[in-house]
């Protein structure tokens, strides 16, 4: 199954988004990572690398991020990932993107690319109208 990693500046936000997204697919391979290793608001590359490794089962990983350092540290973690499988960053709003990604990852023929595209479709989500 394609793995999903949610990265936020806040550990609570990352875990909350994971909770909401998991409702859409109970068997998703999903990891949440947020905050710095000493509990501040922010991100750092090593915990993101570990989350990617945990989410990976040979079918690739899609990473969703909130902003700023999360984007850059996820890029660094992906560049340095020593995995055979594909790891990609999705350019998507993190909450809506995570929901879409979980649903897409549950499809029988899901690929890293199909999950990333589904996550990025969330750029077009309208809340009303």
């Amino acid at each position: 199954m394609v793995g999903i990693v949610i990265v936020s500046h806040s550990e609570k936000a990352a875990e909350g988004i994971m909770e909401v997204a998991t409702e859409m697919g109970g068997d998703a391979r999903i990891e949440a990572v947020g905050g710095t290793e000493d509990g501040r608001i922010g991100t750092s590359p090593e915990p993101i690398s570990r989350a990617i490794a945990d989410a990976a089962d040979g079918n690739g990983v899609v990473v969703l991020v909130d902003l700023g350092s999360a984007v850059m540290n996820a890029e660094i973690a992906i560049e340095e990932a020593e995995l055979e499988e594909e790891v990609v960053l999705a350019d998507a709003p993190v909450m809506e993107g995570a929901l879409n990604a979980v649903v897409a990852a549950g499809a029988p023929n899901a690929t890293v690319e199909s999950v990333r595209m589904a996550a990025e479709d969330a750029q077009r989500v309208k809340k009303f109208g």
Binding site: T36, E37, R40, I41, G42, T43, S44, P45, E46, L67, G68, S69, M72, N73, E75, I76
Partner: protein, 239 residues
């Protein structure tokens, strides 16, 4: 200049930068409170303190390895965007110092640092970021050495002046990258914290370079006939 002397210069530069960042912690926090998330002072203090510890504890006299260790510490410990920006750029550029620190390799380091910074932050001149301080500094440093034939410490002095003007330029413009961009027009009139910390570090490196050069002019003249100490510090410019 031998490897041990270069390594000592790098260690001294890192200590001085760490002290300067600690002294200016609340100034950086105030700047970041106005247009950001108020963590730049704390994040930079934490990052440099870790960098200083790591460099002190590293049993190596390889300047490239020491500079890389500074970058790795900033990457792991800063927590904000300055981590990947400062840390990632230092790590990427440190390879330019594999054959030691000279005027030539310091220019290569500066250019590699700038290239990585722009690539990682996806920022250009005028976005109200550290790029606005760094582009004038790096261009001036390169030109002063390669075109004007200045000694590295003099070139670094000119680079600091250029960075200062770059920092002033961030005040009247609107942010289009980084956290300040969320404020839109309200970012106008405020000085960018990242450009400011870039300037503080350059000023510190200039001061370390000038002091070391003053104290060791005779040694340099005897040994190599060029101001080698200043080369070392000039490389550290991009910290």
């Amino acid at each position: 200049m031998d490897e041990a002397t270069q390594a000592e210069a790098v260690r001294e530069a890192v200590r001085a930068c760490t002290e300067r960042i600690e002294e200016e912690r609340s100034y950086l926090t105030d700047l970041d409170s106005a247009i950001g998330d108020a963590d730049h002072g704390a994040n930079m203090t934490r990052g440099f303190s870790a960098a200083a510890d790591r460099v002190e504890g590293l049993e190596s006299d390889d300047p490239a390895e020491l500079v890389k260790a500074v970058g790795m510490a900033l990457l792991s410990e800063v927590g904000g965007a300055s981590g990947p920006l400062y840390g990632g750029s230092i790590v990427a550029a440190s390879g330019e110092l594999e054959d030691g620190i000279t005027a030539e390799t310091s220019v290569a380091f500066a250019e590699a640092y700038l290239e990585k910074l722009k690539e990682r932050g996806k920022a250009s001149i005028g976005d109200k970021t550290m790029v606005d301080a760094l582009v004038p500094a790096v261009h001036t440093y390169k030109k002063s050495i390669e075109v004007d034939g200045l000694a590295p410490v003099e070139a670094l002095g000119k680079a600091v002046d250029a960075a200062e003007r770059g920092v002033a330029f961030t005040v009247p413009i609107r942010a289009s990258r980084g956290r300040a961009s969320y404020l839109g027009w309200r970012s106008v009139g405020h000085q960018d914290p990242g450009a400011t910390s870039t300037l503080l570090l350059l000023e510190t490196l200039l001061s370390v370079a000038s002091e070391r050069l003053d104290g060791e002019v005779e040694v340099d003249a005897e040994a190599e006939g060029k101001p080698a100490e200043s080369d070392t510090e000039a490389v550290e410019v991009e910290d």
